[in-house]
Subunit: 324 residues, 2 copies
Amino acid sequence: MLMRRRQFLQAGVAASAALAGTVMGAGPILAAQPKAGRQVPGIYRIAVGDIEVTAVLDGYIDLGVDLFPDAKADEVAKLQQANFVPVGDMLRASVNCFVVNTGDKLAIVDAGGRNLLGPSMGDMPAGLAAAGIDPAAVDVVIATHMHPDHIGGITTTNGAAAFANAELVVHKDDWDFWMSPENLAGAPEFFKPFFQAAQAAGTPYVKTVRKIGGDEEIIPGIRSMALPGHTPGHTGFVVSSGTNTLLIWGDIVHSPMLQFAHPNWSIAFDTSPEVAAGTRRRAFDMAETDRLLVAGMHLPFPGIGYVMRGGGFKFVPAEWRYGL
Amino acid sequence: MLMRRRQFLQAGVAASAALAGTVMGAGPILAAQPKAGRQVPGIYRIAVGDIEVTAVLDGYIDLGVDLFPDAKADEVAKLQQANFVPVGDMLRASVNCFVVNTGDKLAIVDAGGRNLLGPSMGDMPAGLAAAGIDPAAVDVVIATHMHPDHIGGITTTNGAAAFANAELVVHKDDWDFWMSPENLAGAPEFFKPFFQAAQAAGTPYVKTVRKIGGDEEIIPGIRSMALPGHTPGHTGFVVSSGTNTLLIWGDIVHSPMLQFAHPNWSIAFDTSPEVAAGTRRRAFDMAETDRLLVAGMHLPFPGIGYVMRGGGFKFVPAEWRYGL
């Protein structure tokens, strides 16, 4: 309800005055409810005009501070203090997916890491189930890029498509880079697992993959936006309906705590750290200028909010929506 | 998982290299998943040592800016802009409840507004069900104070106890104030509904009510803390287990957006606005100094976080806990 002072001064409360003494006689008992022992499924919805977007938490990833070569230890400690997270050399980040239901088509943007990076991820299928979303109803699997924490979940442990009736949509530069047997063969040993993960995930979609560019309609209501640097074809997706817009920006940030304050601090995974930093600065600037609602795979779950300036930039999580 | 650079440089990804070409042939289909059309249940858990606390969202309340007599319109607009909420004369706030499971006893601290203040509240029973919590298993209903958005839910629409096996715990000054037939009779007309709501809610618990003071053990693991001003007996509850502590502070703030920045801006509902403002300043100071985890009935759902200084004070929501 909307409670205003003038209503409060009139008759704000529709309380029953029935004070009949129907006393329930039962006293306290000792039976204890078992503790749940685990978190609730990470799911949350918003409407973007006529389109429904469901954030689904796949889990989390702990990134060593040393993955950010430019990060200064004292500044990191200061940010950790201010964010009430443990001070140390570890940065915990959400791994989010976003299901987009336009009414005509059901898409999922990224699908988490399955078990490719250990047991801290892989909750996406349980999240879909909790949200009442049938993987077999998904028409389009959209990948912002082909890193394991984004495409691991598109394929099952036995190598089948996790979304059996879906086409895969991914930027052609990412597909060509990660699916190349030559690139796998030529990669340094420490980097081969990334190619192997991408190729295992992409293989069941080889016949249906749609390789896209950086500015085209994916389905009515979703359009690609080139956001290069993190990977060769890293791509954002703009969900729009009427005057409402949501930019799902993928991996513009990996550590919100560090990178909003320090947009130039790129992560070691970036294919082109300088390009990625430039893309990040432009994305922040655009989001701030347009007061654009953004969603990110490593923004704090549900990963939806706004960008404002202040000590570099700041992320402002959107307030909980009671309706959608 | 914890991902560190040195692991990334070794063999960070346990990807299967099995790239056998098991192509799933099914192409895209047009079947659409129906949109959900509503938000997920607002439930969220944390552990406080060995104790489990479940935040349950009852709904929201829209407060007119005019309920804060000291609020300056231009400053309100500035804060609304900075928080990416609509600029205007309305402030939306969560109505949260907190279930505390010590393992031996199950308590609920406040219970939302049922339908006493309109359809924007009353989700608490559905939230309990979604969290797997049986109202009949609740041993203790704890009220921070007897306002309708806090005690409406302790009683059903037909006047029975919503927690049939629980005792009610409330500060004696609140019980005596709100349950008094003389105070109801003597109240101005606009204020009578508050007394009527409290008396309707309290009546089924008359035989089992435990009237407490401001510094005593309620059950092992929960202790009362006097936080007067908002109502005569407004009380916080400290949940503690081992070295872990959570202060459930009730209505120290009604509009987090306004009152962290301006702790002196009291709400018109306060019985003693000056006492309430003093209590608020002391609570903020204590929380900030001790880096205390706090939970509030009108903090942004799930209503759990920290207090820091900066332009008055600021609320820092705690990060999502993947485990508990």
